[in-house]
Symmetry: C2
Subunit: 426 residues, 2 copies
Amino acid sequence: MKYCELKRPELEKELADVRKQYDEKKAAGLKLDMSRGRPSPVQSDLSEELLKTVGENEDCFSEEGIDCRNYGFLKGLTELRKIFAPILGVDFEQVVACGNSTLNLMYDCVSDAYHYGVPGGKAPWGKQKVKFLCPVPGYDRHFGITQALGAEMITVPMLPTGPDMDRVEELVKDESVKGIWCVPKYSNPDGFIYSDETVKRLANMKCAAGDFRIFWDNAYAVHDLYPDPPKLLNIMEEARLSRKEDRVFIFFSTSKITFAGGGVAFFAGSEASVKNFLSHAAVRTIGYDKVNQLRHARFFGSTEAVYEQMKKHAEILRPKFELVCDTLERELAPTGTARWNRPLGGYFVGLNVKEGTASRTYTLAKEAGVTLTKVGATYPLGIDPFDSSIRIAPSAVTLPELKQAIEILCVCAKLAVLEKMTENKI
Amino acid sequence: MKYCELKRPELEKELADVRKQYDEKKAAGLKLDMSRGRPSPVQSDLSEELLKTVGENEDCFSEEGIDCRNYGFLKGLTELRKIFAPILGVDFEQVVACGNSTLNLMYDCVSDAYHYGVPGGKAPWGKQKVKFLCPVPGYDRHFGITQALGAEMITVPMLPTGPDMDRVEELVKDESVKGIWCVPKYSNPDGFIYSDETVKRLANMKCAAGDFRIFWDNAYAVHDLYPDPPKLLNIMEEARLSRKEDRVFIFFSTSKITFAGGGVAFFAGSEASVKNFLSHAAVRTIGYDKVNQLRHARFFGSTEAVYEQMKKHAEILRPKFELVCDTLERELAPTGTARWNRPLGGYFVGLNVKEGTASRTYTLAKEAGVTLTKVGATYPLGIDPFDSSIRIAPSAVTLPELKQAIEILCVCAKLAVLEKMTENKI
């Protein structure tokens, strides 16, 4: 029954029913953390062989004969860069293999821009007014970087085709707009994929700032749940056509392929961008952990093997995503109070509950033992002006736990709406 | 024979002799790189067991039950922090276990100070005039950080007791003096150890800047060549006595204990400093590589085991250091044109050749196939105003190679002096 079509007595009966369901579920004393997109231990187990690839002194040398235990080779191991370059959509010479965290690379790139400026710009960002475009809902840790460094964050609505490009093209006419955060494939949290048109427009649009940069966090490039996955257009190729390839910074890691905390992160960009990145990285470090890079190169051996590994992840993740979406479909769709996208990959389901009820839903869930990502996290400064966006991270918990958690979430979402419609809080 | 006591004909005869020696050595066509303080492969081999400590999925859990493969636990593994805390001279709660590079931690701390300021200060360093004290000769990569970020670097002479403290105490009366680079034990390159008095004065001195910080890079804390090594006073305890413990940032790593490029780096400081460090680190990363931290915790198991490992390194390094110093003693001491300290640990021998001859010595050595650390590297901006300091890094090459290289270096140093004294270049 669509809640908006119910009369007052019907609403009150439904409220009483849902509250009873809530109380029963709360009494069960569940305790589940779905706040972050952590892989489950079973997923980490898929990479056991990685731990064995470098076990003896003789194993520590790369194909080029580099002793990976020692200092140096800032650009990272060639064999590993060659495996991942096709996934990043660039030549391996345009790839740098780094440490265990793309977040760190993104921070470093923004921080470097503040300290030193960006080629094409007039001054370090620290000496300029800096505005950053933040498609919303989006990834809290992206926004955290630009918040910490003092950028003014301008929200842009995420559409099923990507950021609202009419709005973006309008905004980049302002010279103080220096960048945009993008998760182009299986966006965090909605799971949208940027359309070809969006990619082309981003790559080609006219920006007032010569130091405008697209932070292309292609975190879920190979994180498909189904065969024949949708294809994301290669932004670097598009940008090259209009000689704007310096605009694109690409980030990618194996965090959700091998080990979330012990993978390898990559930076890719134009020749000039890579050179600039390395010039700053050389001040920071003598080299990233090449032993771990070697483990990864040995474990995969080929680009194809990365896709094979992702099929195993999909086997584990697919039932969880389907359970979430099926439950939302069954429990919330009939009420007409929420909307979401059924993702074909990535790590999240973005649930948009009725405006003004997300915080209440969060609190109800918390009190019933289910910790969700904090409401507002998907917006800059942690403030969702619509109080509507809830990020569901189904990966970490087991299937039976997830079933309980999502059922509770649905009950909470319904209860929050009904309370609001009847102005009748517990 | 002391060169300064020679008459012109004697000098010219010596020049002819030394030039002949040089030409013979050059003809041998040697090719050796002694430019950086890299451990030799034999030293890396000492940590083979480290590679085997985490080989199966079941091995990936810490003593506290943390799945080290996954995200989180920014402060690092407790068991590893407990092993290294006594070496850092602080409680384990004051230690953060990080990635593979202390240079990166030092960069981050200076960069954070520029972006966000330091507790006790009036504004971010980026908004202030910043001067930094650089004991010379010193470590080029330290100076590289403050150079990149635009600090004015003020040199302070290194004495056998540490930086000239009369000068330091005078300089810190200037509010724009915000920090000092220190390698307190086996200083880079001279191998000096800060005296108790120097440590006490650094810990207690009155600084005009409330945000003055000592960057205590205790890189060679356990890197002793001989039994009963000299002891460095615990600066944190001294600073605590006068309630100045926020002043001290301690850095340490296993780079020269396990793997130079694949070790674990540590930050330590007061409670407030650790809190501040973590607050910025949390923006940059979800966590450092805990799998590698776990490998290290398992490999050592105790603080004592770290010292045992260092005895094995000393067995390999001691003959190299002794060869260098004995050769300098035999070849250069009689000429009265150079001075150096015979280090009891660390990674370098700092050779001070006659003023105005270091660059020429470097070039002569280079042409004879021996690459030394670039002259000037031990000074800010790469400029040694005395053209005198040469850093010898004996670790990377084998003993027979080192013998050849140091003999060449001595011949080059003599030749450069004789050329200068006779104004007679090749």
